[in-house]
Amino acid sequence: MNFGILVNEGPYTHEASDSAYQFCKAALAAGHQIQRVFFYHDGVNNATRLTEPPQDDRNIVNRWSKLAADHKVDLVVCVAAALRRGIKDENLAVGFRISGLGQLIESSIQADRMVTFGD
């Protein structure tokens, strides 16, 4: 099955990004596909490569980048939401791309299931 994922909150403040990541990992392990992960609202902050969490904590941004590299997961950051919050190509982490809201609608249409994680 093909899953579309929507992440509406940034890293660390809310558990949303962690839950979404764990969901994706479990789905892939079960042989499903992640059609796309779309980052919206403060969720765009998951895509900054300027994040430097303490060494004994998980690195949420890198974890998403690795998921993209290992499983060819399409990580899309909403351009309008990103520009509002200072996320641009120059500080975008590896594996993410910035695109329009149409990518979220397209994901809703193409994926078998759409799951939202937020506050």
Binding site: L6, N8, G100, L101, G102, E106, S108, I109, T116, G118
Partner: protein
């Protein structure tokens, strides 16, 4: 891309405007969604009904008043707007307080509509 495929997509709005950005950014999604020719509906529950309360005046907080955009939805052929009856009552509001034509439904009726959707997007 997705020629001919029409899905029932419901946008669930449960948050008040201005206190957080969810209402505005949800509306931005809906406007984009209009271009995809899907079967779109919007539902306003809980504090989400405040998004449609007539008469927003945002000059004093220096935030853009996006209420006129709800009135433009009809031009995009988005006209299935449902408002939760219990939410209106709990807030001392009625259908007359809404800035656009809506259909008032009970939470259970909205739940039934949710069951029929292919996709639910909540912000």
């Amino acid at each position: 891309m997705s020629e001919g495929q029409v899905k029932k997509i419901m946008y669930v709005n449960r948050k008040a405007p201005y206190g957080t950005i969810y209402a505005l950014e949800s509306l931005e999604v809906v406007l984009i969604a209009a271009a995809f020719d899907q079967d779109v509906s919007l539902v306003f529950m809980d504090d989400g009904v405040y998004q449609l309360k007539k008469g927003h005046q945002t000059k004093g907080i220096e935030v853009k008043n996006f209420q006129p955009t709800y009135r433009a939805l009809d031009d995009y052929d988005i006209n299935k707007l449902y408002v939760e009856k219990e939410a209106l009552e709990a807030r001392g509001l009625s259908e007359d307080d809404m800035c656009v034509p809506v259909e008032v439904k009970t939470a259970a009726e909205i739940g039934k509509l949710m069951d029929e959707q292919d996709v639910l997007l909540s912000f």
